[in-house]
Assembly symmetry: C2
């Protein structure tokens, strides 16, 4: 990892053209023959061990993980409690002046080295993400490894650009009668304080890296509070941070892990501490809203939940449409904040390249595409992964209570992990009036096909859902420029990113670092986006000193 | 006003070298012979009139101003009450989609035209600022006119840079087996919502323009809620905005004036409305903190109050030091958020170019410099202006109760305005232990000379005051590089801008647009700075649409 990569990243955030620094294919042709087995072995070495991470004020241990695959974990982490926070936060702050004084270039070098170190451990990380989240291996490698690192680099690039957008020292010369007034003005980026990153179960790294690394590179200390079910990926991350910081002569406690006993509610205690000036959170709308309302001493960045809409109006590729949506709904059993939830279809159907399709034919087409995609069980489990928890499983098993089941979920056996709960998605048909059902987030593999009076009503409901419930993604399928324009207008009005006519290998639930912003910060699903200037600019402040020359 | 000016401003925010677009001298050589009398006449035409500004939902009028100079005002403004907000905010929002769709370039053209229009009315504005705030004319012209416009342009430049930091439409091409995947991705800057600007009495334009114009140019509608005592400068401003918007075919209600009856507490009602997504405030710490805690649906930018420290350690120009500080303390009777309040002096004095000076000699030197600066009454009133309200006058008259009065305030007669309350500053000597006195903001012309055990204690108290009470400015005088380095370190640690050894024509209470940030956002005095990227980047969001090519 070197500065040439940073320069490419800086170019990419300016052009927002395609860029990726971390190869997403776990193929031996890319990473070498040894990488996969060595990474797996490294992961397995953590099983049933005391994880070696430096957590000041920890006086106990916790073991809170349970793999959706049934992969044994039993890793013991230092436990942080409300009573340890005073000491933990003091330790976190201790190294900040030195870290600040090192300046943006030195900090960026250290953080690039951390990303490189994590990249070297990408197979270990991928195994940890897979085991804790239930993602299939390739997805864990990509989303949890390569793409997470790309998002981290994107955040670092934005932060570096912001810290260096003007010279650190400038000469100011004001014309005056006689001699001009000349002063030297020095601007130093200073950290805001301690930054807390609250991780989630499903994407422990991908959702944590932008906040973690943009806070760190701007001079803040970072306390990482993982979800009790997905600690290991972030423990590995914190370990890498601490190692690299120490190797470069910085205080390793600039990044710490705050693992808690499940149910301790440590995030609440942490988030309102006066030392904490930045909070990054991914998780429920309820707790996200609580943070926004209560952690007013901090800058709070939240990604909460939403109800992602799709408007079907017409298509020139019914096969492409159904195949594309089928993939989105199947991937990781829809356990993504970006998975579509409400698909609006006119009651009298849509025009397609295969002729007019009634509502039921659209539903059947989508069901068929899902069936076809998941026909081969061995391949299917590599798309679906495992159901992450009982709540998701419960909603799926009760899907028939939501409405008319047009695709019934099936239970699959995972060939390698007999204890994994693997399920195919459910499709439920509803009427537009059932907004109390399809208008609530139903995280996981239950998708609603909503019968509307036509595309006008579909777009109205699209607006209503995004405004009232929020959405991370939205999509429209139409061959009509008028409808596309109306959908774009609606998306701008309610503030949601729009994917139009995706029928190929790009999916509405996926966002590409350096090109697609993840979230908009303009609707209730999230108050920020990965990654734009607003996401990083407030993580530090400029302090000026001036003197005559 | 044209794009060439914007380009210069964009350069200036990159280099932070000297730049000013609006000449600060009210001289006829700069503005022409007619400008001053025409501007005064324009101001006088508003006296005892119904001010013509378009305020939807206003059903009554208010007359709330009382000039510290006794200049008759009696201007009647449309009254907004809590009951009008629904309708007012709906009207504010109505024009936003068209304003958004116009795009950054069209919006910036309109806003530059507004600034140009205001510049053409600068003498009228200056008279209005002078009459309402009690500033002397030249200061009202500079701070309330030229410098306010420079800060506005600075904010517009930052906002434009943020909105255009990448192309509005980019082609994204991802390598793939076979044909690459090509997509067109469009990023549209969308407004956050309605922006509320809450003005203050002392700097109605200077403190309102950065928020007003950066919110407007990023696509938001802006409701301007002036302080009841200083409405006219903002009414003129809103009128200019409405005129130019209408001339360009935009909804004039994109900028509205919300004048209230004194005591109505309209700011509270406005700030927590769900339509309101941005709040800019200048005023008391109490209400600023209330906004930060309660207006959690909005981005809140506050400039509150602080206790600005000065550390005197040693100097190579005692005359320069005392003259410089005397000017700061006298200007506008210290009624600036940037005026120094606590001057720390070692009990056994300081080394100077005139030999060692005891604490009492330092105090006497400063008192003499103030006396000398204000010896000529006619010139003195042009520096001091008038005392803005009874509270300031009361604190000044009770200054002897704070401690030992080392410079007694004098009452001056204003030759032109017999009813103006004009006073020279008071200096009060205290001990370091009297922190309950000097550690509270004492807005106005009372300054504390604090006897410390030495520069170490001075720096400790400097840290403590800024951390606990906040500060907008700070200064140090020392001939020792070690002391200067310690002061810089302290300033970075506690997050305050530092002026070092100002002995000439630059004053700690003045900040230059495009070069000095006003406030840091890193201590309790303000949560934001004029103007940096963090101040503008969150005022809009990017909404993306993507489609295959």
């Amino acid at each position: 990892m070197n500065r040439a990569i940073l320069d490419q990243a800086l170019d990419a955030i300016r052009t927002r053209a395609y860029f990726s620094a971390f190869p997403e294919s776990p193929s031996p042709r890319v990473y070498g023959e040894d990488a996969a087995p060595a990474g797996k072995a490294a992961f397995e070495a953590w099983q049933n061990s005391d994880f070696p991470v430096r957590t000041p004020a920890a006086r106990d241990q916790v073991t809170t993980e349970r793999s959706p695959y049934g992969i044994p974990l039993d890793v013991r982490y230092p436990r942080v409690t409300a009573g340890s926070l005073e000491e933990l936060l003091a330790a976190a702050r201790a190294g900040m002046p030195q870290w600040r004084d090192a300046g943006p270039d030195a900090r960026v070098d250290v953080v690039l080295t951390i990303l490189d170190r994590l990249h070297k451990r990408i197979f270990e990380l991928a195994n940890a993400v897979m085991a804790t989240t239930g993602q299939a291996f390739v997805m864990a490698f990509q989303a949890g490894g390569a793409h997470a690192l790309d998002r981290a680099l994107e955040a670092v690039a934005y932060a570096y650009a912001e810290m260096t957008r003007h010279p650190a020292t400038a000469v100011w010369e004001r014309p005056a009668k006689g001699e001009p007034v000349r002063m030297e003005k020095t601007l130093t980026a200073v950290p805001r304080g301690v930054s807390v990153v609250i991780g989630c179960t499903t994407f422990p790294t991908w959702n944590s890296y932008p906040g973690l690394f943009s806070s760190l590179v701007t001079g803040n200390a970072v306390v990482v509070k993982p979800h009790p079910r997905a600690v290991l990926p972030l423990a590995i991350t914190v370990q890498a941070c601490q190692d690299v910081l120490a190797e470069h002569g910085f205080d390793p406690h600039l990044v710490t892990l705050a693992a808690e006993e499940d149910g301790d509610g440590l995030a609440k205690d942490l988030a309102v501490r006066p030392e904490v000036r930045i909070v990054d959170f991914t998780g429920s709308a309820e707790f996200g809203n609580w943070l926004e309302t209560n952690a007013t001493q901090a800058q709070v960045f939240t990604e909460k939940s939403g109800v992602n809409p799709v408007v079907l109006d017409s298509t020139d590729s019914f096969r492409g449409l159904t195949a594309n949506l089928a993939f989105t709904l199947a991937l990781y059993s829809g356990q993504m904040c970006t998975t579509s939830q409400a698909i609006f279809v006119p009651a009298d159907g849509i025009d397609t390249d295969e002729g007019h399709k009634s509502f039921d034919e659209v539903a059947a087409g989508l069901a068929t595409a899902i069936d076809k995609l998941l026909a081969d069980e061995t391949r299917a489990v590599e798309l679906l992964g495992a159901i992450v928890n009982e709540a998701v499983r419960g909603r799926l098993e009760g899907a028939h209570e939501y409405g008319q089941l047009v695709l019934e979920p099936r239970a699959l056996k995972h060939p390698a992990y007999p204890h994994a709960v693997v399920r195919t998605p459910a499709l439920v048909a509803l009427d537009a009036s059932d907004i109390e059902v399809y208008g609530r987030e139903c995280f996981g593999p239950v998708t609603f096909l909503v019968r509307t009076s036509g595309t006008s009503e579909s777009l109205e409901l699209f607006r209503r859902l995004v405004t009232e419930r929020g959405a991370m993604t939205a999509a429209v399928y139409s061959t009509s420029e008028r409808v596309l324009a109306a959908a774009r207008e609606a998306a701008l009005d309610v503030g949601v990113a729009l994917s139009e006519n995706l029928t190929g290998g790009v999916y509405v639930n996926q966002s590409a670092a350096f090109s697609d912003f993840h979230g908009t910060g303009a609707n209730p699903a999230a108050n920020a986006a990965y990654v734009d200037a607003a996401y990083v600019a407030g993580r530090f402040r400029f302090v000026q000193s001036r003197r005559h020359l």
